[in-house]
């Protein structure tokens, strides 16, 4: 009988230490290296939301998927776009690409966050919240999470775990404690846990439940995976920024905890690629060596590969619990989104975590624009200066709901900035041309629509100067017509 696809990658024992895969980390998983035993892939990070032919749909970066599929290690899939506490469905069907990722990478299990990231707006339009946000820890949220986990499991036909989330807001009197909430979801969904120790550590440092109290409450025999990361201090909060090495106290906690986790299959180090220059590949390597040493010191444990078993409650045709949970939860989620989009009171009673979340969402949006419209923003910074550019971006951020995909945020910003050109053109005569170029790049990618651009100077020289952070002075006039079209 032929082996199922990817069967040779199925580990006879718990896979062990791994990392979240980014192309820049590829040298650490090259043939001949043995630092990494399992790869975690965040599929949405390699998706785009395009609208060729007018119909929005997700598109995967095939080359990157091929690159990661070629790595001869077991894989895990970790969602960052369809968290389990959403009460609003993604308006663009993500499941064909999810299933494609499962087929191509053959993950041992799949995980997502116990958070929400979209709500229904005033006109009934589903809107992005701009970030993974914490749900209210109530019975209704438990019911909705269980419903979504069961749907997720049924759609992907893989074992599913949920991630214990970070929470920057103050605990509320009518909410469950952090551990109690995680236990309730695990029971209601019959689901394993992805225990993110850095998240719990953040929560404790920021005034919520202690890590020990949460661990005492959790069903440790259901912890399938651990996440470890480093963070940063911001406005008196410790952030789960995935920006540094794992803090030493957390390493020590992990070592104490490992013998208590019989179902644990993977110990994953998370680092965002933008922080790799600060940590360095050698720094990541040292981190992996430390984790391998911890893993090696675990007592021998009998480990069983989780297997997807269709459950009666997950069967197609079931309503996965109740629509009432979604209806009851939706306005609660929206209240947080509305609070974050309004100017915050500076009164002593205001939750300082709201201000932190507002700042993070704004950073996320400014970052998306800086990556996609780098030359336009460089010109704005050079032409308007720091304060005026920052004020311009704030004006945009307050006027429009966030978009999770950088290209859509960029498209929205370009349209808005076009309207300001009459007043900005006098100070930056080339702004219209640079903006039109980057807008055309986004358009051809998102919609497949070709553009013809007129330049009054050599575009490569102009963009080269901006890429170097230099004001475009002294360029000789030159008429250039450029065509951008889908390849």
């Amino acid at each position: 009988m032929p082996s199922p696809p990817g069967a040779r990658l199925l580990p006879p024992e718990a896979p062990g230490v791994g990392l979240v895969w980014w192309p820049a980390l590829a040298p650490l998983v090259a043939p001949g290296t043995d630092l990494v035993s399992v790869l975690e892939v965040e599929p949405q990070a390699f998706w785009e939301l395009v609208a060729h032919g007018g119909q929005p749909h997700y598109r995967a970066n095939e080359a990157l998927f091929e690159q990661v599929a070629a790595v001869q290690l077991p894989k895990l899939l970790h969602g960052v776009g369809h968290p389990f506490c959403n009460a609003a469905e993604d308006p663009v069907d993500p499941w064909p690409l999810w299933r494609q990722a499962v087929e191509r990478l053959n993950p041992l299990w799949v995980s997502e966050h116990l958070s929400f990231n979209r709500t229904t707006g005033p006109q009934g339009r589903v809107e992005s919240a701009g970030f993974l946000l914490p749900p209210p820890q109530t019975c209704v949220a438990v019911r909705q999470a269980a419903r979504n986990i069961r749907l997720f499991r049924q759609r992907l036909q893989r074992p599913v775990a949920f991630e214990t989330g970070v929470h920057y807001l103050r605990p509320q009197a009518d909410e469950m404690g952090d551990g109690e909430f995680f236990v309730a979801v695990s029971k209601a969904a019959d689901a394993d846990l992805l225990l993110d120790l850095h998240n719990l550590w953040c929560n404790e440092r920021n005034g919520r439940c202690s890590v020990e109290a949460v661990l005492e409450a959790l069903p440790l025999h259901r912890v399938r995976e651990l996440h470890l990361a480093g963070g940063m201090q911001e406005r008196g909060f410790w952030l789960d920024a995935h920006s540094a090495a794992v803090p030493q106290p957390l390493m020590e906690l992990t070592e104490r905890l490992l013998p208590r986790l019989p179902a644990l299959g993977a110990l994953i180090f998370e680092l965002l690629p933008e922080h790799l220059p600060a940590v360095g590949l050698d720094g990541v390597q040292r981190q992996l060596e430390q984790l391998q040493a911890l893993w090696g010191r675990r007592p021998p444990m009998r480990w069983t590969l989780p297997v997807f078993r269709p459950q009666a409650a997950d069967a197609p045709g079931q309503d996965f619990g109740d629509e009432e949970a979604a209806l009851a939860l939706a306005p609660q989620l929206r209240r947080l989104v509305d609070a974050l989009s309004a100017p915050l009171s500076s009164s002593a009673g205001a939750d300082p975590g709201l201000r932190v979340l507002q700042g993070l969402i704004a950073d996320f949006r400014r970052g998306a624009l800086a990556r996609t419209l780098r030359h336009t923003l460089s010109l704005l910074l050079l032409g308007l200066g720091r304060q005026e550019t920052s004020a311009l971006l704030d004006e945009y951020i307050h006027a429009f709901a966030p978009e999770p995909f950088a290209a859509i945020e960029a498209e929205q910003f370009c349209q808005w900035l076009q309207g300001l050109l009459p007043r900005l053109r006098g100070r930056m005569p080339l702004l219209a041309e640079v903006l039109a170029f980057e807008q055309a790049l986004v358009r051809v990618t998102r919609h497949g629509t070709a553009s013809t651009l007129q330049w009054s100077v050599d575009p490569s020289a102009l963009l080269g100067l901006l890429a170097a952070g230099q004001a475009p002075a002294g360029l000789a006039p030159q008429s250039v017509t450029m065509v951008l079209e889908a390849g």
Binding site: V20, P23, A24, E42, Q44, A45, E48, L49, N61, A63, L64, V80, L132, N199, A229, D240, H242, S243, E270, L272, P273, E274, L360, D363, R366, G367, A368, A370, T372, R374, L377, L379, L381, L382, G383, L384, G385, R386, Q387, P404, F405, A406, A410, M428, L430, L431, L441, T445, D458, P459, S460, L463, A467, G469, P472, T481, V483, L484, E485, G487
Partner: protein, 80 residues
Amino acid sequence: MSELNPQPLPPFADRVRVHVPQAALYDLAKMNKITANVLGRLGCGGCHSGRILDYVALDEFVVNPVTLEPHEVLAGRQVG
């Protein structure tokens, strides 16, 4: 600016062709690199709950790559 996003350029460039119909003083290789740089950064962000510093880094880079001091003197002048 590659330090802002250390990911190697994903191979998006083959999706978009940039061409200039007439002979012009024009660096096509540089243009294609710029294009690929932008096209490689259009997706969704990764998993985290921290700050995204791309704009901060761009601001500091553009403002003064050597001293990181702001060139506010440019504000109000015509720069391009």
